[in-house]
Symmetry: C2
Subunit: 256 residues, 2 copies
């Protein structure tokens, strides 16, 4: 029931949304949800009335270590208890409701959560039980509805997958989640021009340009192709090597 103080545990992102699973049935799905959360930097998982109790060995196995790294999961008997400390609550729902609640896409919802968490407001996202989803009574307690538009003729989303989509959308608002970039060593235009000049000279020597009339056009096309490739220093050197191999002439020093 208490937050973990174990030093091996990941500390929660300040004020990131909590994920609350209401009446979850299968431990495997709780574990998959935990894994998806930690993948995306979320660590505050809460359960309301888990069918098979807590802790759950199947959840641990399916989380592939995520539950060990996250703060202890908090467990509540009722959704009202679980919501006590939150300022804004978002209920996920696959289907239309007769309840009048503002409906958001997942992207709109995390954008809203981001601005609220920046103002130190606590937010939580609710997910219902497998198959049945949240009850209307559960949804009535929430401030907003999140509807993930899916293929209307095939919309059954696994609980772990639903958590993943929201956690992923949240991670996209986090500036520390930037794609990995490859350290590149792009060639300068002088290096590219050296290659182009050598290539055109060799092609001239080997009678590649059939006539004086077509040569400017062909030079322009070859220049365009090789410029578009955005070559690196290493790739320019490889092309010089190819020309040397095909012509039997070493790469001139000035072009290296």
């Amino acid at each position: 029931m208490t937050s973990g103080t174990d030093k091996t545990k990941t500390s929660a992102t300040s004020n990131a949304p909590a994920i609350i699973l209401v009446d979850p049935q299968m431990g495997e799905n709780i574990g998959a949800a935990a894994r998806a959360m930690l993948n995306c930097g979320l660590t505050d998982l809460r359960l309301v009335n888990p069918r098979d109790g807590w802790p759950n060995e199947r959840a641990n196995a399916m989380s592939v270590g995520a539950l060990e790294k996250m703060p202890d999961v908090k467990v509540y008997k009722t959704l009202k208890d679980a919501l006590a400390e939150f300022h804004y609550v978002y209920a996920t729902s696959a289907r239309l409701r007769e309840l009048e609640k503002p409906v958001m896409t997942a992207h709109e919802a995390v954008t809203d959560m981001k601005s609220r968490t920046n103002n130190n407001q606590n937010t939580a996202i609710l997910f219902g039980a497998e198959r049945t989803g949240l009850t209307n009574d559960d949804v009535a307690l929430a401030d907003y509805l999140i509807n993930i538009p899916l293929n209307p003729s095939f919309s059954s989303l696994n609980l772990g997958q639903a958590v993943l989509l929201l956690a992923y959308e949240w991670s996209q608002t986090d500036e520390t989640f930037k794609p990995a970039s490859v350290p590149t060593a792009p060639a300068t235009h002088a290096e590219l021009q050296g290659l182009l000049d050598r290539l055109m000279n060799e092609l001239d020597d080997h009678n590649f340009f059939r006539s004086v009339e077509v040569k400017p056009h062909m030079v322009r096309n070859l220049t365009t192709t090789l410029t578009r490739a955005g070559m690196t220093e290493q790739e320019i050197a490889t092309f010089h090597g190819m020309i040397s191999a095909l012509t039997g002439k070493k790469t001139p020093r000035t072009n290296k």
Copy 2:
């Protein structure tokens, strides 16, 4: 090997990206990928060298019917064979590569795919084997790298989940995937004003406003609260009913 002509099958979205799983091992993951695809409206699944052959009973079970509804999965011996008909190929990768390829986020990649498919160019997204991912030789055949930024200390994403994230991002570019909206019957401001007027009169009669000085401030606050609630006709009627119950006076006809 051929596209299905069975009338029960879902027809592919014209030119939507194909999903290609390279060297997939577990049938369960192929089934989960198919389910995630169909959830998001994608139907063109291709396999390169599936470890346990094809078809696969575990894949069928895990797809929860998706594989039956989709066109037949195409199976290839090599990635080169599988790529033959595509104009642009995007390789997913969890880690940095030494290969010089343009790196995109999932969102950037589907935006790029969308503009290409609008120009009738065929696109495909590659996913590698569980655990090992795509080989560098596989990645070399792709035009672009897709990197999904995840928690660096816990980034292992299940194959089905990885397919879901890309398929979901694709679905977000599809205008037919709009969130369900609730048919609402919002009250007019005249209806709201009728409720406010009646409420203020009753509060006045019951000596709620302690002094003439504070009354305008309290009226303004109550007006703000009830206006912000964005009430429907039905909710206005319910509030009139509440006032009737608390005061013992019927709702006046003019306020109905």
